[in-house]
Amino acid sequence: MNYPRTTLDNGLEIIGEQNPDAKSVALGFFVRTGSRDETPAIAGVSHFLEHMVFKGNADWTPDKVNLEFDRIGAKYNAQTSDEATVYYGAVLPERQERLLGLFGSLMRPSLRSDDFDTEKKVILEEIALYLDNPGFTLIDKAQEWFFGEHPLGQSVLGTDQSITDLTRDQMMEYFTLRYAPNNIKLVLTGAFDWDAAVRQAETLTRDWEPQRTPRVLTEPEPRPAVRVEKTDKYNRAHLCWMTAGLAEQDPGRYAADVAAYAVGARRGSRLYWALTEPGIADSAWFDHWSKDGGGIYVGYASCDPTRSQEVADLLREALQTAKADGLTEAEVNGSRRKIAAGRTLHGETPLGRLMSVGSDWLYRHEVNSLDEEIERTLAVTVEDANDALAALKTDAALLAGLGPIEALR
């Protein structure tokens, strides 16, 4: 593996993990922007803009964009989170130039009004789609309840109202500031041609203007509470437990991940034996999600509404017991090895590696090889994992419920 990198005059950083044995090339533009960079008045603009990027510009009509991706056989998509917007794709190596040429041009969209109006309908459909998914809806609400006014409480999709009200000019203003070259990384993985990619990127981004694009990382002030939203829209009770976790920049996140997986992997974990295996909950899991400058631990379960209190109690009890008594060597070993195997599988394809390399660079300005990642995961000791659990803020947690239930304690 080679790790070439360079920075263009306009501030655009290009970074690669070169694997000559790969059968494909993956590349992506990682924009350091997401719902946490929005004000409530433009809630959902990052995600809506992600859709609008595919509508093209003077060189690329929307139809031409879609056709070109298909003509080069690209496997591609884009995703928006609370803190990053990523445009990514993979092609066979001989089509690298066309994929980079297309994505590179798309990163300067026209945001035409008629496209904006049509795509607004698609966004409203996407919001409706997720409203029919209670697990997603609850976790979104839980973050809003847990973080309150803090930017991490902002929903990625926005609301019917905020999307309906959003104007094309507001989007353009947001775009100009956030899609500046110094706020974007171009990442390549697999069997790419580095020199050709750098030359092409220089030409493509020659007119991109740097901007001051700060992200103020204010300390979240979590709001521990018990909250229930009663609705007959859903058949099952959906529960979410949330407390503060570790930042992407915190080396302790490896231990936090291993500990959380031992407590809450979908199979073989504490929650599995307490809730899923005996058939008390339909599903139950607990996980650790690192974010920029902070993070969260998230637990989730769905169950028969009549058993929601019992499930909430068992979930909290499992966490308390793990925190108080610690995990065993066997539990930590199983967790480490499952995570290591999972990373290996995820890293089999250039597209899988692209996400890891991109977030390494976006958050930490470093790149870890797959071997290094696995090594750090396997190096987590029982003591490390138990220290992570000992620091778990179980007394500053949110317990949230959604479904045909009245209340939780």
């Binding site: 044995d21 790969a22 059968k23 494909s24 595919f54 139809d63 879609n66 056709l67 991706f69 298909d70 003509r71 080069i72 056989g73 690209a74 496997k75 993979a90 066979l92 049509t118 795509e119 607004k120 309908k121 698609v122 409203l124 459909e125 409706a128 789609l129 409203l131 029919d132 998914n133 209670p134 007959d232 829209k233 859903y234 058949n235 099952r236 959906h238 199979r267 073989g268 899923t276 295996e277 005996p278 058939g279 909950a281 339909d282 769905s302 169950c303 066997a330 070993n333 199983g334 090895r337 499952k338 290591a340 195997a341 999972g342 290996t344 599988l345 089999e348 394809t349 250039p350 597209l351």
Partner: protein, 417 residues
């Protein structure tokens, strides 16, 4: 007998009828494996629908010398990313892990498949889990739609779902589980597949050692019987935000000579964002977030499934446009469309070759549906033979019609076929 073929594919059938298929992926660190047993919902006894899923759940609750917890820990200690489950025609077992741990995992799976304890005191939990999965289906509208679409499309056992029915699940006893295990978990007709880094001869020796004494064959699968005419079914759900729309219609089976023409016609509809459904339904009209058509195959039959999800006010228009596009296929496809479909299909096949999990699923499925594994070169040659004219000839002989339509949501629609 060993019949090595070109590329990195190898197959070998044991004397007891278990077929081994393997694909070496150069530079892989992992191995993905799968046991595919022809024991799914279609061969469940009529009064016990849901039995396959319950049995699959129960065989992990202790096997060989290990109890439920020990077995789970043993699988976890290998770092196994477990997959599998009961399906319409099959039940599968396996997962992915680092290559060096494969032999140990195979030993554990020999216990799971051949020597499960099926502890009676765990039956209540397995039953509750099965019932919960049915309840949870209510909170997953698109999944529920496809369960009902399959039932509306097929007459007979292929209309079933591996989720079963409440009555069937309640009726399953410990005796049933033992009898079912003895009858349907059999080597003849079963498949073991592996992809990634492994030594095929060593794997064959290991599997022979572990599974060589296993004998017998599961009951034959019933012949799939699509209903003769399309029908429309609406499942009311007042509280849903979106209307779910599902459409099914027949196409040729995977072993039919015309299969590649059929599958390329569906690619023209839905291979990428430049294809017809996405362009007409989403891009031009903004009617949906999600719309697609896909090939689905069971052994001996093929069908096309199409889907759209939209808010109720726009659902009639969405259904009309969707059906309109399906019917318009027969008016012809262009060379440009065929070329895009071809490039998309071939490039995704090459990229699939980078993933052990994707490859093992693919080779096991080929072996199950076609009785052999296709090489990449064979698929390439077949796909390159497809032309607008050959697709046209196929569509004229098998025009999309007799649509089975299911909708789930606040509003019943009208199918204007």
């Amino acid at each position: 007998m060993s019949d090595p073929t070109v590329s990195n594919l190898t197959t070998h059938t044991l004397d007891n009828g278990l077929t081994l298929v393997g694909e070496v992926i150069p530079h892989a660190r992992a191995a993905a494996f799968q046991f595919l047993l022809p024991a799914g919902a279609v061969t469940e006894p009529g009064g016990k629908l849901g039995l396959s899923s319950m049995l699959e759940n129960m065989v992990y609750r202790g096997a060989g010398a290990l109890d439920s917890h020990e077995l789970s820990d043993a699988l976890d200690s290998l770092g196994l990313q477990r997959g599998g489950g009961a399906d319409l025609e099959t039940t599968s077992f396996g997962g992915s892990l680092l290559a060096e741990d494969l032999p140990e995992a195979l030993s554990l799976y020999a216990d799971i498949l051949l020597r499960p304890h099926l502890p009676e005191d765990q039956l209540a939990s397995a039953r509750t889990i099965a019932l919960h999965r049915l309840e949870a289906l209510e909170d997953n509208p698109s999944q529920k739609l496809f369960v009902h679409l399959q039932d509306a499309y097929f007459a007979g056992p292929h209309g079933r779902s591996s989720l079963g029915t409440p009555e069937g699940i309640e009726a399953v006893t410990a005796v049933d589980l033992r009898a079912d295990h003895a009858e349907r978990y059999k080597p003849a007709g079963a498949i073991f597949g592996v992809a990634g880094r492994f030594d095929f001869d060593a794997v064959v020796a290991k599997v022979k050692d572990l599974f060589g004494e296993w004998t017998g064959g599961a009951p034959a699968l019933p012949v799939p019987m699509p209903r003769a005419e399309g029908q429309y079914l609406h499942l009311p759900k007042e509280t849903a935000s979106q209307e779910q729309i599902g459409v099914a219609y027949p196409q040729v089976a995977p072993d039919d000579p015309a299969y590649y023409n059929a599958t390329m016609a569906v690619q023209v509809l839905s291979s990428g964002m430049g294809s017809r459904l996405f362009m007409e339904v989403r891009e031009k009209r903004g009617l949906v977030y999600s719309v697609f058509a896909s090939n689905r195959a069971v052994r001996g039959a093929g069908l096309v499934l199409a889907y759209a999800g939209t808010t109720p006010e726009r659902s009639q228009e969405t259904l009309d446009v969707l059906i309109g596009e399906l019917k318009r296929l027969v008016e012809g496809v262009t060379e440009e469309e065929v070329e895009r479909a071809r490039v998309g299909l071939l490039s995704s096949l090459v990229m699939q070759g980078e993933s052990t999990g994707a490859r093992v699923g693919s080779i096991c499925r080929d072996q199950f549906l076609r009785g052999r594994v296709r090489t990449l070169d064979e698929i390439r040659a077949e796909v390159e033979r497809v032309t607008p004219e050959s697709i046209q000839a196929y569509l004229e002989a098998h025009p999309p019609k007799e649509f089975t339509v299911v909708t789930l949501g606040p509003t019943a629609l009208e199918v204007r076929a």
